[in-house]
Symmetry: D2
Subunit: 98 residues, 4 copies
């Protein structure tokens, strides 16, 4: 189980607003049974790393499908094998220490 | 107004768990009147860029204060000047398109 | 063709030095015929995105093979389809404007 | 002494090419006596953290000065206090293990 953060940024679009691209990428997520959280700067997934990377690669294609010619995608993987890291466990771990 | 994401990772600590460090860094935030959100992978702030960078620099020192000798800090700034970008506005912008 | 930057950070190792892990990860790269550049903060690849992601996934496993229990891997993809983006072209593009 | 990587990306420019913006940001660097390296994905500095952040904040303003309305800037700080981390030392540390 990994927790994986992704940000997909289309470049050279001519508009400062990117939320329509984010929404279009999220339509990909809805096709899969995967736990995720939308944050102000990214989308965070939890689950099997290969499965999540497959979803991210599909999301990364969306702006190109809409005519964008350059996409900058950042993926941050937190892969922990001594413990079952999940979105909820990570947040709770911090909160109970606050 | 900028939206700024930060992740502070102590290196060479000998333990895989980092939540105590995150919690300690958050005690810095509580000293300030600043809007923020804890995500599974980071902390996201909104507000004046210089003010947020000042808080982040103070947070970055916390692991060193606790004896850590190497800290990896990632800061991602989303600075928009045509519109008042906030945490709530960014999330809502996507949600209303879904 | 994409240009892809990767950083693989083992967590909880008990030592601040990480260069041995970076060197071990690089032994994976040497098995493949791929163009790459070592930078002070990362490794940068150029080539087919799927091929590079395959190499990165193999590199990501190396610290686990050596007993590490948590690995933080960051991947940054610059995927351009209007032009053949390469490491050399990106650097030269900037240098000729300086 | 810290090693700090920065990437400054103007959004909504209408052109996929960003090298002119990178070059313009580099004119800021030339005003200062600072060690840096241009990589295919970023600029890497070494030196005093506060000094480098001051330079980065000045670079971050350059696209706005040229009319851009949204800028995404990523800063990655590798701050080591048990050893004098430099660009050269980091690269050599890996190379001598290869």
């Amino acid at each position: 189980m990994a927790v994986v953060e992704v940000t997909i940024v289309p470049l050279g679009t001519g508009e400062t607003s990117l939320s329509q691209y984010v929404a279009d990428c999220h339509h990909v997520i809805n096709k899969y049974n995967v736990t995720f959280q939308l944050t102000p700067m990214s989308t965070v997934f939890e689950g099997d790393l290969d499965f999540i990377l497959k979803i991210i690669k599909e999301m990364h294609e969306i702006p190109f499908d809409k005519g964008v010619m350059r996409v900058s995608t950042t993926i941050k993987i937190d892969d922990r094998r001594d413990k079952n890291g999940t979105i909820e466990q990570k947040i709770n771990s911090v909160k109970e220490k606050l």
